[in-house]
Symmetry: C2
Subunit: 198 residues, 2 copies
């Protein structure tokens, strides 16, 4: 954390509160209190609570997308034609993004519906495009005979459901280190789709 601006500090505190007690139950006053400032001072930095939610969700979405881009580029070069290795790389990027900022990730996963319609719709589209990476990769692995026959959309939802649940329970100071969770989760979800060796 080299240079945390005031704005970013607000988002971090808000992420934690939204994660603990939910977006709707958290007031701007709660956020201000957690920052030890007056509500009025907070409004110098943000226009509304939804504004803060949007900033958190948008940044989290960008981070998930950037991680997936990087994973796809890396996997295409390192494991061409190996769909299991490509899926593992995608999953690692996803879980790493969660563990690196679990507050923002859990708000992204659990509270994007709380956005107003004009922001919810584009986020829904980005979520769908993101899920499509998993669906398309699973379909390609099936077409290559590398993955078992399973509905790609259902498989993608189960895979992402397993990975996203990490945002609800991951604890930075928990028993398992982040690196270990990243590896175990990635190999676990690949198992959902990969054909068993015969």
């Amino acid at each position: 954390m080299v240079e945390t601006t005031r704005r970013r500090e607000i988002e971090d505190v808000a992420s934690d509160l939204f994660r603990e007690q939910g977006y709707a139950a958290t007031s701007v006053r709660d956020i201000a209190r957690a920052l030890d400032i007056q509500g009025a001072s907070l409004y110098a930095h943000v226009t509304s609570k939804e504004d803060v939610l949007w900033a958190i969700v948008d940044r989290a979405a960008q981070r998930f997308e950037a991680a997936a881009d990087a994973a796809e580029t890396k996997a295409a070069a390192a494991h061409p034609g190996d769909h299991a290795a490509q899926l593992a790389e995608l999953a690692r990027g996803h879980v790493r993004t969660i563990t690196q900022d679990v507050g923002a990730a859990s708000v992204f996963v659990g509270e994007w519906r709380s956005l107003g319609p004009e922001r919810r719709v584009p986020i829904l589209e980005r979520r769908d495009a993101y899920e499509r990476r998993y669906r398309d990769l699973i379909a390609a692995g099936m077409a290559a005979g590398e993955f078992r026959m399973i509905d790609p959309a259902l498989a993608a939802m189960l895979v992402l459901g397993a990975l996203n649940s990490i945002a609800t329970w991951y604890d930075m100071n928990g028993r398992l280190p982040a690196d270990r969770i990243v590896e175990l989760a990635a190999e676990s979800v690949v198992r959902i789709v990969v054909e068993e060796p015969t």
Copy 2:
């Protein structure tokens, strides 16, 4: 649905609203409006919004517990010592419970934190006891050499994360029938833990 009482009707309508727009963003007035009655008449049946949330969460918890009890009894008789078959049975019961009342299940999964502390604590304990069934079964399968070596708590969370995500996207009128989802999801999560045949 043989005899739906007014109270049950209120819970069903509230479940759908909580699922769509979240508990905190839903008012008693919204629930009354969806039932086409006056807010005041609703208070003849319920004392507060949290009262409705509690009724939904408690009933969902009971249904998950009853399904797991039945699955354990059935699997112990039909598949003694076969941990993979036992886990599949447990998962089928869980997913069937979700698809049979997806509104209540999604509120249970996503909104139990919105309960007040005196109700949140016992629900947290019941959730933990429920998760323990998965942890213990996975640990037993590992001890028997039937499951691969993986942290049982992490594996249980990934399994339940994949299964619970169904509550967020399942649509009764969707493309995949409930029975198919139950089977595909159960076999998918067993794959997370089972040892590959060598």
